[in-house]
C-alpha cells in the first residue's frame, strides 16, 4: 500500500509541533499521524534530528568581556541630537502643506476675481439643498490654519523629543505664516460657511452691511453661535433648519436677515491684500526647506 507523499503543509505542521507552537487539537492530530503514517513519521524524525544536530553545536563562550569601558561610554554619547530624519519628515510635511496652501491661495485668488451672481438672485434661484461647490476663503483659511497648527504641533513634538532643538528657517517661516494668518483673521470678518438647506420660497432681504452688525469682529468663523454671545457672523453658521427659526437659540432678530446663502460672499479688500503676504510666506517656507539651512538659536 503506497503512502501519501509528505506535503508542505505536513512539513510545516511537524515544524510547529517541534517548536511547541501548536494548539492542543493540532498536536493531537500530529501525534495520531505519527502513529499511523510512516512517511509522516520519517519526516518528523528527519526534522527532529536536524534540530538536535544544530542545537548540539558547541556554544562558544564569549572570548572576552564586551562590557563598555568609561572611555567607550563617553565616546558613545547617549543623548544624541535628533537625527536628520524626523525634522526632514516634518520638513517634507511642511513643504507639502506649503505647496497645498499655495495652490489653494492661487485658486482662491482666481475665484475672487471671477464674476459672481448677486446673493439675492442666488437665493431666489436655489431653493434646493446643495452644498457650496467651491471652497470659500473661509474654508481655505480654516484648512490652512488647521494644517499649519497640526504641523506646528508635530514639529514641536519632534523638537521636544530632541535634546538639542534648533530654530530653522522653516520654523521662522511657520511663525511668520501663523502671525500673518492671525492678522488676517483679526482684520477680516470672514464670511461664514453655511449649508444651504431647503428654504421656503421667499426672497430674503439682503444682508445688512457690516457697519450695521452689532459685532463686526469675529475671531473665528468656526465658533458656533452661543446664546450668551449673539453675533451675526456666528449666527450664519447655524444651519437654517427648515421650520426651525434660529431665534429659538437666542439669535437677535437682526441676525435673521443674515441667515442667507453666503457661500459666494465677496471677501473684504483687506483679505485680498493679505493674500500676497501669505503666499510670500509660504514661498519662503518652501525655499528654506529646499535650501536646508539651519539657524542655531
Amino acid at each position: 500500500m503506497s503512502m501519501p507523499p509528505i506535503t508542505e503543509r505536513d512539513k510545516a505542521l511537524i515544524a510547529d509541533y517541534l517548536a511547541d507552537a501548536l494548539a492542543p487539537p493540532q498536536r493531537t492530530e500530529v501525534e495520531q499521524r505519527l502513529a499511523t503514517e510512516p512517511t509522516f513519521a520519517a519526516e518528523y524524525r528527519a526534522q527532529e534530528r536536524l534540530i538536535a544536530l544544530l542545537r548540539a553545536l558547541p556554544a562558544r563562550p564569549a572570548p572576552r568581556s564586551f562590557a563598555l569601558s568609561p572611555e567607550q561610554a563617553q565616546a558613545a554619547p547617549r543623548a544624541l541630537p535628533a537625527p536628520a530624519r524626523p525634522p526632514r519628515v516634518v520638513g517634507w510635511l511642511l513643504a507639502s502643506a506649503a505647496a497645498v496652501a499655495l495652490l489653494l491661495g492661487g485658486g482662491l485668488l482666481l475665484s475672487i476675481n471671477a464674476p459672481r451672481p448677486e446673493p439675492s438672485a442666488q437665493v431666489a434661484a436655489a431653493p434646493t439643498e446643495t452644498l457650496s461647490p467651491a471652497p470659500t476663503l473661509t474654508e481655505a483659511d480654516a484648512a490652512i490654519m488647521q494644517l499649519l497648527t497640526e504641523l506646528q504641533a508635530q514639529e514641536a513634538l519632534a523638537l521636544a523629543s530632541s535634546p538639542a532643538p534648533t530654530l530653522t528657517e522653516a520654523d521662522a517661516a511657520i511663525m511668520q505664516l501663523l502671525a500673518e494668518m492671525q492678522l488676517m483673521e483679526t482684520q477680516t470678518a470672514a464670511p461664514a460657511v453655511t449649508v444651504q438647506r431647503a428654504m421656503p420660497a421667499q426672497v430674503l432681504p439682503p444682508p445688512p452691511s457690516r457697519s450695521d452688525s452689532p459685532q463686526a469682529d469675529t475671531p473665528s468663523a468656526a465658533a458656533p453661535a452661543q446664546a450668551s454671545s449673539p453675533q451675526p457672523e456666528m449666527a450664519t453658521m447655524r444651519l437654517a433648519e427648515e421650520g426651525v427659526p434660529a431665534a429659538e437659540e437666542g439669535v437677535p432678530d437682526e441676525a435673521q436677515t443674515d441667515l442667507v446663502i453666503m457661500s459666494m460672499a465677496v471677501p473684504s479688500a483687506t483679505l485680498i491684500d493679505a493674500l500676497p503676504r501669505l503666499l510670500g510666506a509660504l514661498l519662503r517656507l518652501l525655499v528654506s526647506f529646499f535650501a536646508d539651512v539651519t539657524i542655531s538659536p
Binding site: A46, R55, L57, P77
Partner: protein, 198 residues
C-alpha cells in the same frame, strides 16, 4: 554573578536607562555569550565576530534611550545581527574558517562519553561542514536558522530579533532547514548515528 530574574533585569534596564553604566554592563555580561555566538555563526570568523559584538553593545548603549521594554536580549540581538548582515552584504564573502577557530570549538556530545582523537577530529570536521552549510544560506535564512535551531529561540523571539512577521520567520526557517538537510546529505558519513537525517 547570581542568577538574575526578570525583575532583576527590569531593574538593571531602568538603572541603565537612567545612565548607570554598571547596570548596562551587567546586562552586557548577561547576554554577551548569546550575542557573540549568533554573530560568530553568521560570520564564521572569530575576529570579525568580536568586532561586531563590541560595536553592537556600543550601539545598544548609544540607543538605549529608545529601548521601550520587552526582551532586552531580542533587542540587542537584533542590533548585532543587523550589523552582521551589513558586514555580509558589504563583504559578500564566505569567511575562511581558521584552524585555530576549530581548535577552540568543543565537541559534539556523543553518547559514549569522552571522544577518542578520531572522534574529536570527526566532530571538528562535522562542525566545519555544518558551518559551511550555514554559510551557503542567504543571510536572512541563515540568521533565522541560527536563532531558532542553534540558539533555541521561540518563533516570536526570532520575529522580534529579525523584525519580521511570524509567517516570514516560519517560511525562512522551512527553506533554511531544507537547504541544510540537502547540504548535510553530502557529509552524512560524518554524522553520528543519532544525528543521521535519513
Amino acid at each position: 554573578m547570581a542568577d538574575l530574574t526578570l525583575s532583576d533585569e527590569a531593574t538593571l534596564i531602568r538603572q541603565a536607562q537612567a545612565g548607570n553604566l554598571e547596570a548596562f554592563n551587567a546586562l552586557v555580561l548577561r547576554h554577551q555569550d548569546v550575542v557573540y555566538n549568533v554573530v560568530y555563526r553568521m560570520l564564521g570568523d572569530d575576529a570579525s565576530a568580536q568586532d561586531v559584538t563590541q560595536e553592537a553593545f556600543i550601539s545598544a548603549y548609544r540607543k538605549f534611550a529608545s529601548f521601550q521594554g520587552g526582551h532586552f536580549r531580542a533587542w540587542v540581538v537584533r542590533i548585532a545581527s543587523n550589523q552582521a548582515l551589513d558586514v555580509l552584504r558589504r563583504d559578500k564573502r564566505r569567511p575562511a574558517e581558521s584552524l585555530d577557530d576549530l581548535a577552540d570549538e568543543g565537541d559534539l556530545p556523543l553518547p559514549d562519553g569522552g571522544p577518542t582523537p578520531e572522534q574529536a577530529l570527526q566532530s571538528r570536521e562535522l562542525q566545519r561542514a555544518i558551518q559551511q552549510c550555514l554559510e551557503s544560506l542567504n543571510p536572512e535564512q541563515r540568521l533565522t536558522l541560527i536563532l531558532c535551531d542553534v540558539q533555541g529561540m521561540s518563533y516570536q523571539e526570532v520575529a522580534d530579533s529579525t523584525n519580521a512577521q511570524l509567517g516570514t520567520v516560519k517560511s525562512r526557517l522551512a527553506r533554511a532547514r531544507l537547504a541544510v538537510r540537502r547540504c548535510l546529505q553530502a557529509v552524512e558519513e560524518l554524522l553520528p548515528a543519532q544525528y543521521r537525517l535519513s
